[in-house]
Every structure is written in C-alpha cells, then in structure tokens.
Amino acid sequence: MIHLTIDDIPVEVEDGVTILEAARKVNINIPTLCFLKEINEMGDCRMCIVEVEGRNNFATSCIQKCEEGMVVHTHTSEVMKARKMILDLILSNHHRECLTCIRSGNCELQALADKYNIKGIEYDGEKGEHEIDDKSPSIVRDFNKCILCRRCVATCKNVQNIGAIECTKRGFDSCISTACDQSLNDVDCTLCGQCIASCPTGALHEKDNTQEVWDMIHDKDTYTIVQTAPAVRVALGEEFGLPIGTNVKGKMVTALKRLGFDKVFDTNTGADFTIMEEANEFINRITNGETMPMMTSCCPAWVRFAEKNYPDLLDHLSSCKSPHQMFGGVLKSYYAKKNNIDPEKIKVISVMPCVAKKFEKTRSEMEADGLRDVDAVITTRELARMIKQHDIEFTELEDDEFENPMGEATGAAAIFGVTGGVMEAALRTAADTLEGKDLKEINYEAVRGKEGIKKASVNIAGKEIKIVVASGLKNARIIMDEIRSGKADYQFVEIMACPGGCIMGGGQPIKSSKIRSTVDVHKLRSDAIYSIDEKSTIRKSHENPVVIEIYKEFFEKPCGHLSHKYLHTEYHEEKKYDF
C-alpha cells in the first residue's frame, strides 16, 4: 500500500492508483476533460493538473501514479489560475454556440466553464473555421466545437480498432479528421457512433431527424407507427434524471401516445420474427451443410464493417434483416392488409439506441413492394428531445402498455439489447426446435456479461455447437481474422459493434467521463434488460402467440418464400474508402 496526503487528508491506496482516483476515494474531485477511463489516458488537456510538493511543474493527476509520501494539493491558487487559463484558452478557440448547441446542458466544457466561474472571453484571437460534415445519414461532425481531447480518436482506434478518425496537421492547426478530410460517410467509418458517446462537447452528434418525425405526426394523411428497440426503455429515463438502469417502458409508451403517433408498437415483436427466421436459417445451414459459422446480422455497423473489411466472408452473415426492418416489412404488408390501411400512407418510425440504424434504413435493399421498410429512425436522445419539446413531464407520467397485437413480445426479444442476447434468444428457439421439446433450462449464462469475447460450447440434441459472442469491433476483427485464417471452428457467431451491445449504443444518453469512470453503466442497463426477460411470461420467440398467428396467416413458415421477400436481405462488398 502507498500512503500520501491529498489536500491534507491522508490517503492509502494500492500501487498503480492515479492521483485522480486516489482523490476521488476521499471525495476530492479533480476536474478532467480529455480523460476517459481506460480509453483515453493521455493527460493532454491539462485540466487535471495538481501541485505535488517538491516538483517544479504541475503533475498530471489522471495518469500520474501515487507515490509513497507524496503531498498533493488539488486546488491551490496557482492550480486554479492555471486551470482557468486552460479553459480560457480552449474557449478562445471554440465556437461558443451554447444556446443552440445540441449538447447544451450535457456538455463537459460548459459545466467546467460554469464551475470555474468564467464570465468573459479572456483571449480574443484567430479561430479555426471548418465545414460541418453532415453527409452521412448517421453522424454529424462539427469540428468548430472540437476541443481536441481525442477521446473520439482513442475510441475509434483503440476500442473499435477502426481508426477512421485521427488527429491531423499540427500545432494550432491540428484537427481531428478522416483520411484526406473526406466525409465519415465515405471512409472506413462504420457509423457505430461510439465517438459521439465519448465526445465531451457538441463536436460529434447524431443527425437529428426529429423534425422529420414531427412532420409525419402532424400530417393528417399519414398513419404513423412508432416502434421502440429493447435498449431504449432501460436508458430513456436517464435523460429525465431517473437512475441509470430504470425501465421506463410504461412512461415511454404513454409519452409516445401523447406525442401523437397513431400506433405505438414494440420492436421486440420484430425481434421475435428475427429469431424465428435466424434460428431456422441456422438449423437449415447445419442440416444442409452450408457455409459455417453463421453470423448474426442485426447490427448495421457490424454489417457495414464486414462489407468494408471482410467482403470475402459475407456469405457467413445471416440473410435476416434486423428486427426493426423486419417489423417495418411486417407492418406494411401483413398489418396493413389485415387492418385495411393503405401501406403507402403508413410511416414507420423506429426509436433506436443506435445511429447506424439511420444509415441502415437508407440501404437500397431495405424495401419490399416499392415501399421502404422504415421511414425514419430517431435515437433515444432524440426521443427525449421530442418529449421535452412537447412539454411532457416525463417522470410524472402514468404507465401504459404497447398496443396490440404488435406489442406482444417475449423475454427472448428483450435481451436483444445486450451482447449475447441474440445468441441466447436464438439458442432457446433452435434448441427447442431441434430437440422437439419445451426446454426449461433456457438461461445461457456463458454468453452473458460485458466481456468482449465470450466463447462457449452448447449441447443441443446431442450435438456440440461451438458459439462465440463478440461485442466491440476490435473483437469482431479478432473473430473474423480467425475465421478467415481457417482456425475457427465455431458454428454460430453473434457480433454487435458497440462494446456491451445496444444498451451502450451510439444513440443512447451520453454519460460524462466522471460517470463512466465511477459507475458501471453497462451493468445497470443490462440488469434492467435481464430483469424484463425474467419477468416475462413468455421467454421464447417461437411461443409468441402473435408471431405464431402471423406465420399461420401470412408467412406460412420461417425462411419461406414470403419471409425472403419481407424479412431477408443481402450484402455486397463496399469500398473501404469511397472518394
């Protein structure tokens, strides 16, 4: 153990603990800006500087390890002045549009400026002027608000192993840019949106589609159907001050109805269709000796990653569309017909934890009968924005239920929101089908949890099936390289682009660096998801009565002719750099 004093308080920590962590242990808060635990520990912004007795220069508390006998002062006059200078300098080169900024109220720079009582602009000088990149359907980059903390670069490079963005040029001209300053849309970016989740300011954000959705709602000729992904309900509450991991399904449904959608359905129902199709595709592949392993395809960032990086392995991907796309297809075909609605008038709006879904919906394959499966995608954050815009006191709302019949969903569908969930849901159905029984042991613990790669072997109908679950594209690459080199012997692979799965998606409420380093956000949100599963009366997709009924009435059987038309898709090699 190491002993030191911080602001005259004795602290005892283990070897290797930083001053920042040690200070937090005794409730001393040191401000940070570029620091993002385990992702970006560079000490570049200089906000976390502290005085260590006996040293000429300030120490960088976010990376400086504690040493025996160290005497640290975190808020001396000199330190405070220096931090203020740093903030003054950052603000002098920042497009200060707080009033109209998408991150106003949830901006780490704004919070610090407030904390350090900055009431004027100390240095007036040249400011960078950069064009905003809003070419992609998913992500907007506004470099004018970038403070060069490089959290996004570290996330893209080290967490996702993509490296689509990098610090370029140098000195005052330094900027974060893509290869040859192209749009994110045209480079190796997968549009996963993890960069947005790590940005402390408004330099990176989702493309806002809320106005489009308002227009659909307010158009009397349009029949709007909204669907929400499983991960949204366990995070939306955070935008209204509720604890992380609160399931707000009931309030969310009430709010959606108040916003004026004609129907409020659950993407989980779509997820049950996905399982029906995917589990059966898997069984077919096994029985017919087709390309193995089969890989899930519900994550559009993962699909884009595969198309750009592993075009030779695309036949491994399940041909299933993702749940909300499938659901859109079902709504505009079966549901429209059944309820006598002109499918041309239906607009399907998906509320997703994801920005890549905005891109997915624009893919040319995502349509049938000349109609787009989904007409608009908004993220959890945008939904919160709409609710606020409608002056709804969210926390005061009564609970309500999704509308029937398309609100009926299983526990299997709910767990789509976490890494391992799709695998588990598919196994539940595949096992029952292959064994021909209603199995009771349906919790596949081996695929649960936050680890990036989870390997397991399950016995189904006397067959050993090797499975692997990966989340985070860095881990996806490891698995893909194994498969490409012929070293892998898996039969079923689940991949989600965001580490931890959709609950940690790029469209979810953004958590500050401090929260991310002190709270296990993933665990809280995923506990909420598993608790939905546990509490569900039906926990296997093939037992969903609505699904059974629709197959009977419309699709006939999974992987049949009509499901191929409405529920399946195909993949093509994409140029990694398209400019």
Binding site: K157, G163, A164, E166, T168, R170, A179, V187, D188
Partner: protein
Amino acid sequence: MANACENCAEKRLIEETRELLSKHEKRRDSLIKILEEVQVKYGYIPKVCQLEISDYLDMPLAEIYGVITFYSRFSLEPKGKYNVAVCLGTACFVKGSKEILEGAKEKLGINEGETTKDGKFSIDTTRCVGACGLAPVFTINDEVYGNATVKKMNEVLDEYMNKE
C-alpha cells in the same frame, strides 16, 4: 480518351508504389521512410500511393494522413518546378531573411506553401539550411544563394522566369 490516360497514369503510379513498397518491411515504423521516398520521387504524396501504403502496412488511411500532415517535409500537393525556399533560421532572420521572404511573395504573387498557377514556382520556408556563414540564404531546388538581398533575389528569379 483523357479518362483512359488518367487511368493509365494511375495504374502506373500504383505499380511503381507497389514496387517501392516491396523493398520495405511490413512494419509500421517503415512508414516515414516510405513516405520520404514517395515524396522525393514525386515531389508530393499522391492519394493513390497513400491507399497503397495503407493496404501494405495494414494501417488505417487516416493514420497515414495524420503522419503526412504532421511532418513539414511531406506535402499533399505537387510543388512548383522551382521551389524557392527562404531560410528563416535565426542567423538568417537576424540578417533580414523575412524581407527576402516578403520579396519572394511579392515577386511571385503567391504565399508560402503555395504554387504559382503555371506550376512553375512555389515558396517554402526552411529552418536553417546550414549555410549560416552566408546568411541570409535562400535556395531554389538544390541551389543555395547566399548573402541575399531582395534585389539579388529578384534578379535570380528573373533568370528562372526566363528558363523553361
């Protein structure tokens, strides 16, 4: 026709780059040496070459772009046929090299880092070419001109202007 030729040129560039790359180990610390060779060979680092390097070293293109834009020796645009570089090392500065730079800018009508429209001249600044004894100094390609004055430089530039 023009398009076809462009394709030919690009193809040749790719082939040449691959040839150049084959002499280097597939290690990321080969990058700067590779870029240096490409820069010397073409006077800049064409985009196609960047793509080839990215492929060869299995590095994201953005990272290579980040390295190119960090080091002042590398450029993304071809330089002029005659690159005028004014030394702004301290010894030259103290002897008035700023005036030489201003003079060059005025004479050629371009700023530093720019190339004239006809592609003939570009202006750069350097930090010490090592001829402090001759300060102030400017260079045109590999030729060093010492004890420079604005007038002397104008005369030299006139000579180059009359050259092909």
